[in-house]
Amino acid sequence: MKVSAPSGTPGGPAGNKAGNAGGKGAAKRRRKYGPRTLVIAASAWMLAVIFIAPYLEMIITALRPADELRDRTYLPTSFEWKNLVDVWEESTLGDNLQVTLLIAGGATLLVLLVSLPAAYYTARVRYRGRKAFLLLVLVTQMFQPTALLIGLYRQFHQLEMLNSTWTLILANGAFNLAFAVWILTAYISSIPAELEEAAMVDGTGRFGALFRVTLPLAMPGVVTALIFTFIATWNEFVMGLTLMTEPEKQPLTVGINNFIGNYTVEWNYLFAASVVAILPVVVLFAFIERHVVSGLTAGSVK
C-alpha cells in the first residue's frame, strides 16, 4: 500500500477535513486584482519593508568603516567588505559557529528521538497516566530556562557538566520537547489509525506501518517541530551565557556578545557576526515557510 505525503496541500494532513480558505485556491480563482487587492498588497509590502529594515541597518552597519561608525549618516561613504573577513579571522566566531551547529543539530535530533515515540504512543493509545504525561508536557511548555537559570546552573555544576556541549544539547532539547510532543501528538492523532491498520492487514508490522504510513503523513508536523527546535536552539542565549564560561565553547549568540568590549563596542564587527548568525536561519525558514503554516494548523490549533 502506498500513501503519498500531503506535502502539496498546505491546508494540513490527510485527516484534516477543513478546507483551505483564503489560500492558493482563492488566488487561482481571481487572477485579476481589484483596487482592494492593490491596497492590501501595498500595505503588505510596506509592512514587509518595516520588518526587514532593522536587519538591513545591521548589514549596513556591518559594512561601515570603523571611523564612520559614529557618523550621523544613513549610508557610509564606502562599504568595508573587509569587516566580514576580519570578523572571522580575529575572533572565536568559527568555534562559536561550530558549537551552535552542534548544539542545534544535537538538540533537534534529541527532540526527534524522544518526542516522536512519546507523541505516537500518546496519540494512539489511551494508557494510564496519559493525562498526567500531557499535563507534564504542558507545564514544561510553561517554564522557560530563564526562570530556572540559577537552578539549572547549580545542577549542571553539581553534575560537572558546565562547559560541556552535551549540557546545552540536553537543556535545549528538554525545553523544546514540550512543543514538539504537543504538535506531533495532535498531528498524529489527526491521521486516521485505519490507514495503519490497513497496512498491517497487508502484512506490514506495527513498526513498518509506523514508518511507512504514519511517519510520511506526519512529515509536515515533524518538520515543523524540528525546525522550531533548531531555530530556538540556534537563537538561545541565556543558557549559553550561563552554562558555558569558556569563550571557544560558547554558542554564537553569546560569542557575538563578546564584541561588546571593555573600551569600545565594535558595532560593525558585532553586526557582521550577527549577519552570519541570522542569515542561515532566515534562509532555512524561507524554505519551510509553507510547512510552518500546515504544521501549526494541525499542531497548535487542535
Binding site: 498546505p10 477535513k17 478546507g19 483551505n20 480558505a21 483564503g22 498588497a41 503588505a44 514587509a48 519593508v49 532593522p54 541597518e57 550621523r72 549618516t73 544613513y74 534529541l110 524522544v114 504512543y121 500518546t122 496519540a123 494512539r124 493509545v125 494508557y127 496519559r130 504525561f133 500531557l134 499535563l135 508536557v137 510553561m142 517554564f143 522557560q144 530563564t146 526562570a147 530556572l148 540559577i150 537552578g151 547549580r154 540536553l170 537543556a171 532539547g173 528538554a174 520537547l177 510532543v181 501528538t185 492523532s189 489527526s190 491521521i191 542565549f237 549568540t253 556578545n257 553586526f271 532566515v282 532555512l284 525558514f285 515557510e289 500546515s294 501549526l296 497548535s300 490549533v301 487542535k302
Partner: protein, 317 residues
C-alpha cells in the same frame, strides 16, 4: 443570524480528545503490551532531569547563604526573601512586569489578528512579503534587541536621524536612557519579535476554517463585518488561545530584549522580575534565587489559571 458553525473538534491544549481518529481504548497486542514506559520514558526522564530538578535546586538555593564567589555559607532561612521584599525597586519591578506582559501580549495579539487577515488574502508578492514577516522570528531576539539599541543610539542611531529628518523630534534623544521612553521602545521590540509566530499561528487557524462556512454565511446574506465577528472570530478562538498562552509565557519570561537594550537600568527602573533576578545574581545569589522562586510561583499561578480556563480537567478524562 442563521449561520450556525460547529467548532472544530478539539478544545484547547495539546490533548487531542474526542476525535474519531484519536486514541482508542482497546488495543490489540503490539505496542500496548510493552506499556507506555519505552515510549514516553525518555521524554519523562529528560523533563525530570532538566526541568524538574533545577526547580528543586532553585528553591533550595533561595534558602541558602551563598558568598559572592559562590560558596555556600550555610542556611539563610527566609532571610533572602525578606531582603528581596525590602529592595526599594521590588514593588515597581513587579508592577512593571505586569504592565509589560499585559501590554506586549495585548498589542501583539491585536496586531497579529490584523496581519493574519492581511496575509491570508491573495495579492501579488504574498510569498515574498511573508518571508519578510519571518525575519524577526528567525533572527535571534538578542540580536534584534541589540540592533534596536544601536538604531536608537543618541549619537549615531539611524532611527534618531530618521525621526529628526522627518521632523518628528527636535533632535537626537537618548531614548533608552530614560525609563519613560525606554519602556515603550522595549515593548515595541517585544511586540515586533512576537508578531511572526503569533501571526503564523493565526494564519494556520484561519486556514482551518472551511471555505463552505463563508459561502454559507454569504448566502445567508451576512456582511463582511458580520461574517468576521460571527464566523471568523469564534472559529479562530483555539488558535488565538494557543498564540495567547505561548506569548504570555514568552513575554513574562522575556530576558534578551531588556538585557540587550538597557540591562534593566538605570538601577532596576527598566527591569522585569526576570531581569531583576539576573541583576541580583551579581550581588547575592541567594536573593537572586528567591526572586526566581517568586517568578516561578507567578508562572505556576498563570498555569493554574490557564488550566482552569481551558477546563483541562473536564476534557480527556
Amino acid at each position: 443570524m442563521p449561520v450556525t458553525v460547529k467548532e472544530p473538534a478539539a478544545g484547547t491544549g495539546p490533548g487531542p480528545g474526542g476525535r474519531k481518529t484519536g486514541p482508542q481504548r482497546r488495543r490489540r497486542g503490539g505496542i500496548a503490551r510493552l506499556g507506555p514506559l519505552p515510549w514516553i520514558g525518555p521524554a519523562v526522564l529528560l523533563i525530570v532531569v532538566v526541568v524538574l530538578w533545577p526547580i528543586y535546586e532553585l528553591i533550595r538555593t533561595s534558602f541558602l547563604n551563598v558568598s559572592i564567589s559562590g560558596f555556600v555559607r550555610g542556611s539563610a532561612g527566609t532571610e533572602k526573601y525578606r531582603q528581596l521584599f525590602d529592595e526599594s525597586g521590588f514593588g515597581s519591578v513587579l508592577t512593571m512586569t505586569v504592565v509589560w506582559t499585559v501590554a506586549v501580549v495585548g498589542v501583539t495579539m491585536l496586531v497579529s489578528l490584523g496581519l493574519a487577515q492581511l496575509f491570508n488574502k491573495p495579492f501579488p508578492g504574498r510569498t515574498v512579503t511573508r518571508w519578510a514577516l519571518i525575519a524577526p522570528w528567525a533572527a535571534s531576539v538578542l540580536m534584534t534587541a541589540i540592533g534596536f539599541r544601536w538604531m536608537l543610539d543618541q549619537t549615531a542611531g539611524v532611527l534618531n536621524t530618521l525621526m529628526t529628518d522627518l521632523g518628528l523630534i527636535d533632535g537626537p534623544k537618548d531614548w533608552l536612557g530614560d525609563p519613560a521612553t525606554a519602556w515603550p521602545w522595549m515593548m515595541f521590540v517585544a511586540v515586533f519579535v512576537s508578531l511572526p509566530f503569533t501571526t503564523y499561528t493565526l494564519l494556520a487557524g484561519l486556514q482551518t476554517i472551511p471555505h463552505e462556512v463563508y459561502e454559507a454565511a454569504r448566502i445567508d446574506g451576512a456582511g463582511a463585518r458580520q461574517t468576521y465577528w460571527r464566523v471568523t472570530v469564534p472559529l479562530l478562538r483555539p488558535a488565538f488561545l494557543v498564540g495567547f498562552v505561548i506569548n504570555l509565557i514568552n513575554v513574562f519570561n522575556s530576558f534578551p530584549i531588556i538585557w540587550g537594550m538597557t540591562q534593566g537600568g538605570p538601577g532596576s527602573d527598566t527591569a522585569t522580575t526576570t531581569v531583576f533576578m539576573y541583576q541580583l545574581k551579581s550581588t547575592d545569589i541567594g536573593e537572586s534565587a528567591a526572586m526566581s522562586v517568586v517568578n516561578f510561583a507567578m508562572v505556576v499561578v498563570l498555569v493554574l489559571i490557564f488550566l482552569k480556563v481551558s477546563r483541562w480537567n473536564k476534557e480527556d478524562a
